[in-house]
């Protein structure tokens, strides 16, 4: 069966992408709203998260309880997240319940109640999420890594900070939702079982007359120190390493991500083999590509006991540096097999497809079928990847460690 993505851009700028898969009984949607934490005012870090929390407390003529009860009665498995660029609202359900679910989300995005008497409860929820990170060292080190690696506001995490969260008023939340929950930049991805024309018209009725919001400029600032240690009373030391790579929209992206796949995809990959299998240094070690619109990075993690942390850091950095010498044919063959089966298995999940569709539009301004990705992967060769690696060696590392003792960084830093 040939894959097809339907696309419609409404007059106010909102985009709908939909990929049918009639072999599924389910359908899933993902709204990406251009209201990520990068738009938080510098003294109100946490505003996007608190606004999303408030928006979920009732919409249209539903109060907070009715809102959730109605979604659960429709069997909508919902999820929401605030990332650097977006607030995403997604749901998966049986196909027949898509229309009434979208009605509810149109209310959420366009007519959130934002109940003033719930503001303090929302603030408390957001504060607790911030506190919870203190007890989650592996999460904490990776948040700090991104914050250090990218210029502000692109390295920010959604949790905000104490002073920011405490300063947010009802008016701030109302203004934020009015400005940032808006059609231009909003992408709706739908995948699974649906009728395209009906969907396009229904979304048009719900969102076609949504007025456009105002655009603001973002100023970038560097965060400073790239190599830092955070004191933490734990038996393990957490290590986060980042270095520059290319963005998802870059024509070389698949060369870069292919190389990272050789480094850290599957249990025969280099990091797993060298750090865990041969030396038994840690339970968890990985590297993964991360992409913003115009820049990308490789993010790498390892967690190990304090006395073996130095060796873990040295071996991991050694593998990152060695990667620039190139990948081998057998490694690439394994990588291609993994990607190919992963692409086919992704078709079995309407949720995974709906979010990929929306993310593709954000980065590429178009949808990309899994067949097209498969063709790109088929064209990868050692020659193309190694050419990329020679031109983009791992260097200028950002390194964050968290634990009882700081570590020595001896390689690859300029």
């Amino acid at each position: 069966m040939s894959q097809k993505i339907f696309t419609h851009v409404y007059a106010n700028g909102m985009v709908l992408l939909a990929e049918p898969n009639p072999s599924l009984e389910s359908v899933a949607f993902t709204f990406l709203s251009p209201s990520g934490c990068r738009y938080d005012p510098i003294d109100q870090a946490g505003l996007a998260t608190m606004s999303a929390d408030m928006a979920l407390r009732g919409a249209g003529n539903r109060d907070s309880r009715q809102f959730i009860n109605d979604l659960e009665t429709l069997g909508v498995n919902k999820h929401e997240a605030v990332t650097n660029a977006h607030t995403s609202f997604s749901g998966a359900m049986l196909a027949e319940n898509l229309s009434p679910a979208l009605d509810i989300y149109a209310d959420l995005l366009r007519r959130p109640v934002l109940p003033n008497d719930k503001l303090e409860e929302a603030r408390q929820v957001v504060l607790l999420e911030l506190v919870a990170i203190e007890d989650d060292p592996s999460h904490k080190v990776m948040l700090e890594l991104r914050r250090r690696h990218y210029p502000d506001p692109y390295g920010r995490s959604s949790q905000g900070d104490l002073a920011g969260i405490q300063s947010i008023t009802q008016q701030d939340v109302e203004r934020y939702c009015r400005n940032r929950y808006r059609p231009q930049g909003t992408i709706l991805g739908v995948a699974g079982k649906f009728d395209w024309e009906q969907l396009r018209d229904h979304v048009g009725e719900l969102f076609g007359d949504w007025p456009e919001g105002r655009e603001e400029d973002i100023a970038e600032t560097e965060i400073g120190e790239k190599i830092v240690h955070l004191e933490h009373d734990s038996s393990q030391t957490q290590i986060g390493i980042a270095y520059e790579s290319v963005a998802y929209s870059n024509p070389d992206y698949f060369q870069a991500s292919g190389a990272i796949g050789v480094l850290s995809g599957g249990m025969s990959s280099r990091l797993f083999t060298e750090v865990r299998e041969k030396r038994g240094l840690c339970y968890s070690v990985y590297a993964t590509p991360h992409s913003l619109e115009h820049r990308g990075a490789v993010l790498c993690y390892a967690g190990t006991s304090a006395e073996r942390a130095q060796e873990t850091l040295d071996v991991t950095l050694g593998e990152l540096v060695r990667l620039s010498q190139g990948v081998e044919a057998a490694e690439l063959d394994r990588l291609k097999a993994r990607i190919k089966s992963g692409l086919i298995m992704q078709q079995e999940s309407s949720s995974a497809r709906s979010s990929s569709l929306a993310r593709d539009w954000h980065h590429l301004k178009r949808g990309r079928t899994l067949e097209e990705v498969g063709e790109i992967v088929d064209r990868l060769s050692c020659e193309t990847i190694n050419k990329y690696l020679a031109e983009h060696p791992a260097r200028d590392f950002t390194i964050v460690t968290l634990g009882q003792q700081p570590l020595e960084v001896t390689v690859g830093v300029s």
Binding site: S26, G75, N77, V125, D136, Q236, S268, S341, M345, E348
Partner: protein, 411 residues
């Protein structure tokens, strides 16, 4: 969808759900062994052995095992619970033969000393990792307090000390006793070729020696303990409770799962509205877990230490109110539609069906189609829910708190 089963002369059973429309296929060896089948001197051996199974066989090195799985593009892993150790892989249908061949081969591992020594370090790192994350290993202490001398009290990971003391000979002896074909199930789901699967299992597993692999199933004599562990470095206080609930062989388990959803799902439940939505707690939930002749409800609460006593009192009050006044038809219907939607969504992936098909067979020698599960959930009545609460009180069990507090008021 079609259910298929077979058994080899040495006792190995093979079960499968064939779905001609699936894009992929899942295969798994389900071994009926876990921490409840251990003794003090080998605490943690089931989980350590699970790691060692990937370390090579007389025919393959550890590198070969990892490399061959990756060459098929397999999505593969393993896990150990209190009572099962499961090795599973999802692949495209054309890789059935090499995938099953590899899985079958690693089920007879070499357990080489050098690999054992290296992997021991990885296991210790895993224990340390969990000891740094909430609930900082305290879940093991709660289980031990609740189950007392019952085998379900045993820790899956073991302790740093028990792992250091464990020898390769002890592991080999445990392997011989527990990895007997009569104690192992080969399950498959998705677009599979059952005849080829049975033939392959006959060729590759037919010569495995059968020994008796008995399991003790004593009655659970649940304790009512209240424990407080101080951990200064934690930012939040974490409180968990265990209460008795229906076991895997108990038909009440569906009512228990629906009840847990009404009272303690992570969204839209009574605990959600009383403690999470209003920001009093970071999380507050109730779940039900069923095991071989044992079952538990578990509550989990995380919040600022100053609010812990009050929040725990609220949690207990929510459970007590349900016991005394029941739940409403509206709550029941909402939970049923939520659970049924989750069942359908999850069933769209063969690798999820694999665990369902394998788990049901292991626990009850029963095949349950998606339709059968949906119908069973829909048939649960308010009377069923109220009956399960009368039989298994939610307010009697053991509690453990870990975090900055030195003491905590018992509600």
């Amino acid at each position: 969808m079609e259910f298929l089963k077979a058994q080899l002369p040495n006792g190995l059973e093979i079960v499968a759900e064939f779905d001609p429309n699936a894009h992929s296929a899942g295969y798994g060896f389900f071994v009926q062994t876990g921490s409840r089948d251990e003794t003090d001197d080998i605490s943690g051996v089931s989980h350590f052995l699970e790691h060692m199974v990937f370390k090579g066989t007389p025919h393959r090195s550890a590198d070969d095992v990892n490399r061959e799985f990756d060459e098929m593009g397999a999505h593969y892993n393993a896990f150990t619970s209190e009572e099962n150790t499961v090795y599973h892989a999802a692949v495209l249908p054309e890789y059935q033969e090499p995938c099953v061949a590899l899985l079958a081969d690693i089920m007879r591992p070499s357990l080489r000393q050098a690999d054992f020594d290296t992997e021991k370090k990885v296991i210790i790192e895993e224990i340390k990792m969990y000891s740094d994350e909430p609930p900082f290993g305290a879940d093991d202490r709660l289980k031990a307090a609740f189950f007392g001398s019952h085998p379900m009290a045993r820790s899956i990971l073991g302790t740093e000390e028990s792992i250091i003391a464990l020898t390769a000979e002890q592991m080999l002896e445990y392997f011989r006793r527990r990895y007997s074909p009569g104690n192992i199930l080969l399950a498959a789901a998705g677009r599979i070729d059952f005849d080829a699967l049975v033939k392959q299992a006959t060729d590759l597993c037919g010569a495995w020696d059968a020994v008796e692999a008995p399991r003790e199933r004593p009655e659970v004599d649940a304790a009512e303990a209240f424990l407080v562990e101080q951990r200064d470095s934690a930012a939040q206080e974490y409180i968990m409770q265990l209460m008795s609930g229906p076991a895997a062989n108990d038909a009440d388990r569906f009512a228990a799962k629906i009840l847990a959803t009404v009272l303690g799902d992570d969204s839209g439940s009574r605990l959600y509205w009383e403690l999470v939505d209003n920001g009093l707690a970071e999380h507050a939930s109730l779940s039900h877990y069923d095991y071989d002749h044992a079952g538990v409800y578990m509550t989990s609460l995380g919040c600022e230490p100053e609010r812990a006593a009050e929040n725990l009192a609220t949690l207990v009050a929510v459970l007590r109110d349900a016991e005394e006044n029941g739940i409403t038809q509206e709550e029941l219907t909402q939970a049923q539609s939520k659970i049924n939607s989750r069942i359908v969504l999850s069933s769209e992936r063969p690798k999820n069906r694999l665990f369902n098909v394998g788990g049901n067979w292991l626990q009850r020698r029963e095949y349950r189609s998606v339709r059968h599960d949906l119908d069973t959930v829909s048939a649960v009545s308010l009377d069923d829910i109220h009956a399960v609460m009368a039989k298994y009180p939610l307010t009697r069990g053991s509690t453990l708190a870990i975090g900055p507090l030195a003491t905590l008021a018992q509600p």
